[in-house]
Symmetry: C2
Amino acid sequence: MIKGITRCATAAMLLTMLSVVNAEPALANSANVDPLPSWNEGRTKSTIFDFVQETTTEGSKNFVQPQDRIATFDQDGTLWVEHPLYTQYLYILSKTNGIVQHNPSLAEHEPFKTILSGDMKKISELSNADIFRIAIMAQDGMSVEDYSADVVKWLETARDPRWNRPYTDLIYQPMLELMEYLRENGYKTYIVTGGGQDFVRTYSDRVYGIPPEQIAGTSFSTQFKYDKDGKAFLALQPSLFFNDDFGGKAEGIGLFIGKRPHFSAGNSTGDREMLEYTTSGDGARLGMLVFHDDAQREYAYGPAQGLPASNVGTFSQSLYDEATTKNWSIISMKNDWKTIFKFEQ
Amino acid sequence: MIKGITRCATAAMLLTMLSVVNAEPALANSANVDPLPSWNEGRTKSTIFDFVQETTTEGSKNFVQPQDRIATFDQDGTLWVEHPLYTQYLYILSKTNGIVQHNPSLAEHEPFKTILSGDMKKISELSNADIFRIAIMAQDGMSVEDYSADVVKWLETARDPRWNRPYTDLIYQPMLELMEYLRENGYKTYIVTGGGQDFVRTYSDRVYGIPPEQIAGTSFSTQFKYDKDGKAFLALQPSLFFNDDFGGKAEGIGLFIGKRPHFSAGNSTGDREMLEYTTSGDGARLGMLVFHDDAQREYAYGPAQGLPASNVGTFSQSLYDEATTKNWSIISMKNDWKTIFKFEQ
């Protein structure tokens, strides 16, 4: 009899273990726990639930086979803070002192003069070409592994001045919940970023639960080389290989995934083509745009809807209008998000 | 008591279900069923078992974390037959008649003259540039989706003349078992091919169990465009974007995966750098080369070890010597494989 009890207790334990492994899709109306607790109730949140239910319920007209459930997310301004400047640009700019120490005459020339001035507004107006130039000077010839190690080291000590926290703390909690919710429902989540692929790969798994191989981004060329011991490595080269922005985001999806996504989220004009590509497909497709309209809790910029214009993460009125016409969801940071960051909870 | 029995029966059922979900690594010496039944017993087979045991047994000096278990496979000549000519080249050449019908004067010019002659030896000596030229003429401006549909249609009817079978039947059964065995042990399998990424993606899931997003290959540029209804699509462009061969295979691994593999298999000089990159990493790494030394059951070509030289899938003596020096496994098709194709079983 004691043996019998033990066995039956084991059955209960196994049942618990099994329910974790074979968990039912965590749909809003069937689960006891809200999978999106940091989202306020309303149209945006229910649009997400409707989309997931429609695409994952067998027998539904717009059911999507598990292998075709692809969700793509822009990073800067969509998953984490991009103001006053993209985090990767801050990493690149942190190399300026070293470069100028090596070659002091550069201090009198642009873009070094502006960077060394520390004037963040002027720095945020530097061209991508200027930033790429610094990046190339800092990393040219470096192995991909050494570059990654250097990024990891920088991220450990660098702090955002407004929140005095590591940049990888400045992730939007509602978007983390959304990615997790999509994954629980069989979606494979990708980051499709105008930022550096190798940069994002250093923390994507830890921060977003997205492995390096699911990051499509902008990249420099690499070259296969041998070190002095004859060991093979990949050396970063001084040329842009792929620019994953605007039309390049859709092209990057073709290149890295080879499937048209059913879900895409972005926040700026650089994400327009990704959302157009996604929502031009058949069946249910959801495009979402994070709108930064919350100067108090984060930042407010447009120029859409009369918000201040910004070089970093421009959200134009024409993008806003297209979103409205095409039924893309505009996520109002102010109204749709109960919490912005995990550390606020 | 009846209730008790029922519960205990449920426990047994759950245990069975659970063992499927949390299956132990299917190692040769712990499993009842040989995971590599098409491989003859011997050094090559035991090298595979040793590598998997070493890298997947917790506590082992060379244990590899699940997320770092990356295995890359060349396709042509490694996973399927590449003689007398790469299957994708046959697909491209099938477009010649259409092109010449459209522009009859081309029939008098190379490479069309050689292709129309049907002389397979001469055709196999055409340059990649010649083949690319035909490919571009056939596919320029086509949407990626239309291209894929055309490949699928061709594969349905095209037959290899020697075996009178669809090309996708000419997959090496031992390699299918090896890929499956690695996957069962937590390895993520990728194809890293000099062939066309979009071509291989059309059948990779069905044939190899590898999803399209795990195919790294040679690609043409695409351009984001709108069709007449304003729907977004990707149009193939008349320029090579990425050449995934030789050093490009290692660079492609960096680009598409962002991790150094622990296992790579190839069969020709085009795979040398991929194996060098793989085996230059720390810990246990396994490089394997399929050696086509079985003219009776498949083909025999080198020029390594005195076999006839071949333009298609060249296996040079220097590659053979490097493999020996670096302890890469050379898979003798003749001696290591009990069965070549599934349909022979």
